[in-house]
């Protein structure tokens, strides 16, 4: 049998011609190593206003590292990072000092972690957790803080009669809603979601996904969603990047990646899941 030399490797597509808005996120040439381990190599992340970009891959594929770099939690080894947000449009975020990076993170980037304790103070009240974000911007009036926190909790479809309860006594789904409320409190340019519904009951997962979907429609927030769950990706993402071994092996429209995957690895991934 002849070697499969004409395998349709990722087809080169044209550059955008209709899209006139600048990308919200434009990260180029990302590289991150831990000692001798190359976690991420030669990865570009481009997301346009209001779109949800999914990143899928197995554990160790580098997808969570990409998210941490986008969240300016770690220093990158190579690459540039442009975020189309007030006051930083022309800057490469990777070159900013720690203080300014933290400011960008608070003002323009929200994140929801799989594990709520990474994003929340588990023994503070839920509304207090959300208000803390607002405090960081200098708001000091108690009434204003509480109103803004409750508004954000309401958008996250969190039951307000539990706003004084600490996350520690809430269910997993509720904890994710508190994280989400905190993440969107300052109306960030970019919302990062790291396995936001993994570990939740299926029915709870559906309602949290629905909240995210409503939020995306009503506020047009640009989101980068990392998940190993193709069902979550199908529900939320407009486009998908498939990562393996620190590199992007394939990317495309979500339905195309799931229904007509080109790369051998993506075919395996899709067929193992559906």
């Amino acid at each position: 049998m002849q070697a499969t030399s004409n395998r349709p490797s990722s087809r080169r597509l044209d550059p955008p011609r209709i899209a006139t808005l600048a990308p919200v996120v434009a990260v180029r040439g990302l590289r991150k190593t831990y000692g001798r381990i190359v976690a991420v190599e030669d990865v570009d992340v481009v997301a346009y206003p209001g779109e949800v970009l999914g990143i899928v891959g197995e554990s160790g594929s580098g997808k969570s590292t990409v998210l941490r770099l986008l969240n300016l939690q770690e220093a990158t080894d190579a690459g540039t990072y442009h975020l189309n947000a007030e006051g930083v449009t022309t800057e490469d975020l990777f070159t900013l000092d720690r203080y300014r990076q933290r400011e960008v993170r608070v003002r323009h980037i929200g994140i929801v972690y799989q594990q709520p304790h990474l994003g929340l103070r588990m023994r503070y009240s839920s509304s207090g957790n959300v208000a803390e974000r607002l405090l960081m911007t200098g708001e000091r009036t108690f009434a204003t803080l509480r109103r803004a926190a409750n508004e954000s909790l309401a958008v996250s479809e969190f039951p307000l009669d539990r706003a004084d309860d600490p996350p520690a006594v809430l269910s997993g789904g509720m904890q994710q809603r508190v994280q989400l409320a905190k993440a969107i409190a300052l109306k960030p340019a970019l919302l990062l979601l790291d396995e936001p519904t993994t570990g939740l009951d299926v029915s709870i997962q559906a309602t949290v996904l629905d909240t995210l979907k409503r939020l995306q429609r009503s506020r047009q927030i640009t989101m980068v969603l990392v998940s190993h769950d193709l069902g979550v990706i199908r529900t939320l993402a407009d486009r998908v990047m498939v990562m393996r071994g620190g590199r992007v092996v394939e990317q495309g429209l979500t339905d195309q990646i799931l229904e007509d995957p080109q790369h051998a690895y993506t075919q395996q991934l899709v067929h193992a899941k559906l």
Partner: protein, 236 residues
């Protein structure tokens, strides 16, 4: 200029774990004018749905061009950037199947109104959605209910209303009439006639083309490859 000018269009699936290539259609060429309705015909397994999915880019065509005359100028659907395809799907090109994907806690009215939200406020969108659901014969008692609980026939009415509510310039119809009752098939044919009169171009696969026979302008007949009788040819 035609709305769609398809040239030497081919689709092969490369199935890695089988180590082979499955050819579906090869060097297909045709044009579609505004207001024209072409039937995609041919035996089972010849790739009729595959052609529609390639044009919508749910599948990636293997080679050839699909030059589409968008409001933004001519663009090749075979190679356009994903973000541009997203814009065209939102504004110009619709895909109609027989299946609804209901979401929890989203009412029939909201689901149907959704494609209009980019262009108008929710109240106007829901007014139009109501009249569309009425056209397709969904009982008004169900408009505020969740389609996840609906019967198959009721879901199909919601599906068609949603798929055909927003103004489109090109509609790809993938067996939308399969298993519809007679009244709903009639409503669908009426809606398609309206759209055709408005200049919408349509390309459709129909199990029973007689439902829309009076609207058809021609046919794209797909034939099985000569090399194998079952539509599957080994990689080369």
């Amino acid at each position: 200029m035609p709305l769609l000018d398809v040239r030497d269009y081919s689709k092969h699936f490369h199935i890695d774990h089988l180590g082979r290539e499955i050819g579906v259609f090869d060097t297909l060429s045709f044009t579609l004018e505004p207001g024209q309705f072409l039937l995609v015909s041919g035996p089972n397994g010849v790739g009729k749905s595959t052609l529609l999915r390639c044009l919508f880019r749910s599948y990636l065509p293997t080679s050839g061009q699909a030059l589409y005359d968008s409001r933004y100028g001519q663009i090749d659907l075979a190679s356009a950037a994903d973000i541009d395809i997203m814009t065209l799907r939102r504004e110009e090109i619709g895909f109609v199947t027989q299946f609804l994907r209901p979401r929890p806690r989203v009412s029939a009215l909201e689901l149907v109104a959704e494609p209009l939200l980019a262009a108008m406020d929710a109240a106007d969108a829901e007014t139009r959605a109501a009249s569309m659901l009425d056209n397709f014969g969904l009982k008004s008692a169900l408009w505020s209910a969740y389609p996840t609980t609906f019967s198959g026939g009721e879901q199909q009415k919601v599906n068609l209303a949603r798929a055909l509510i927003a103004p489109r310039r090109l509609l790809l119809l993938d067996e939308p009439t399969a298993s519809l009752d007679a009244a709903t098939r009639r409503s669908l044919a009426e809606r398609l006639a309206e759209l055709k009169a408005e200049g919408v171009a349509m390309l459709g696969v129909f199990h029973h083309p007689q439902d829309v026979a009076h609207l058809l302008d021609g046919e794209i007949n797909l034939t099985l490859p000569q090399t194998s009788p079952n539509g599957v040819s080994a990689g080369n």
